[in-house]
Symmetry: C2
Subunit: 172 residues, 2 copies
């Protein structure tokens, strides 16, 4: 279940980590959607991942060092998945991927607004977002001044604004 190491090329090795159709989707939902539980990932996924694939990928991502698993104190069967630093530093890749897809592929407006915001914010915004993720997932001290909205809140607000505007356009 570890990587093949077809070559020592960094692009190849990166591809061996998430060169499949689901690994990055799961990480996307954890990073941007804030999902931490198996069911959240299973039911919340727009793309409809199957439970066995999800289980397999979570296991694989743990073995590769991108995720850790811990018991949820509120429920003896619940597991909480956390991003590691290795996964948190994927934010710039996600941002570039989103920016590229937004230009060249048939994205929907409400789903691409977040990519747009992340692109406009550039590396400083990515850094802030990564700090928030470190706080959330690794227990690191938060560097952002209290009172300022989190990046995820900003992304969510932008998304909901588009959805509301589109709904209004329909009913108007």
């Amino acid at each position: 279940m570890s990587i093949d190491r077809r070559s020592g090329c960094p692009i190849n090795l990166s591809l061996e980590v998430f060169g499949d159709r689901w690994s990055l989707i799961i990480l996307r939902d954890m990073i941007f959607g804030g999902r931490r539980h198996f069911r959240e990932l299973l039911n919340g996924s727009l793309e409809g991942i199957a439970s066995n694939i999800l289980a397999d990928r979570l296991k694989r991502l743990m073995e590769l060092g991108l995720l850790t698993k811990a018991d949820d104190p509120s429920h003896k069967q619940k597991a909480i998945y956390s991003l590691t630093e290795m996964a948190i530093t994927l934010v710039p890749i996600m941002a570039q991927l989103g920016a590229w897809g937004r230009v060249w592929l048939p994205v929907t407006e409400e789903l691409s607004i977040r990519a747009e915001l992340l692109e406009k914010g550039g590396p400083p915004l990515w850094e802030q977002f990564m700090d928030e993720l470190r706080h959330e997932h690794l227990g690191a001290p938060s560097k952002t001044a209290p009172g300022t909205p989190t990046v995820r809140q900003q992304l969510r607000a932008a998304y909901e604004e588009v959805v509301a505007r589109k709904a209004e356009a329909v009913t108007a």
Copy 2:
């Protein structure tokens, strides 16, 4: 052979384009290795792609608009594959992917020196590289001042320097 469109999310759509183990490898060899012919891609690949997979992916990448094919005037059977603007704008993604892999994965020094150079050069270097690719593949006018080494030459020189140094370390 087109993409599924499981959702309109830009990250998902990008993943449907090159969320497999070979598409990005082929594009990497074309972008960084300057390969344009079937055989070059087949034999030059470090990872050892099979000919049927290569043929399949080239066809797919053409259908998706990332590559074009033209006859080679020097040989009636040879085909020259060219990158489109869509593929050329993958350079920042490749750079980020390489930078991430270099940090977190067991890369070899000689193969990661290019990623390091590309990371250090940042967006300005990426832009210069994309301009060179546009010149090479799309016939666009070259913007770089004559006499300055091309980015690919710089990458190649850095690679060969590492190889030479390592060879010396062995024989010394």
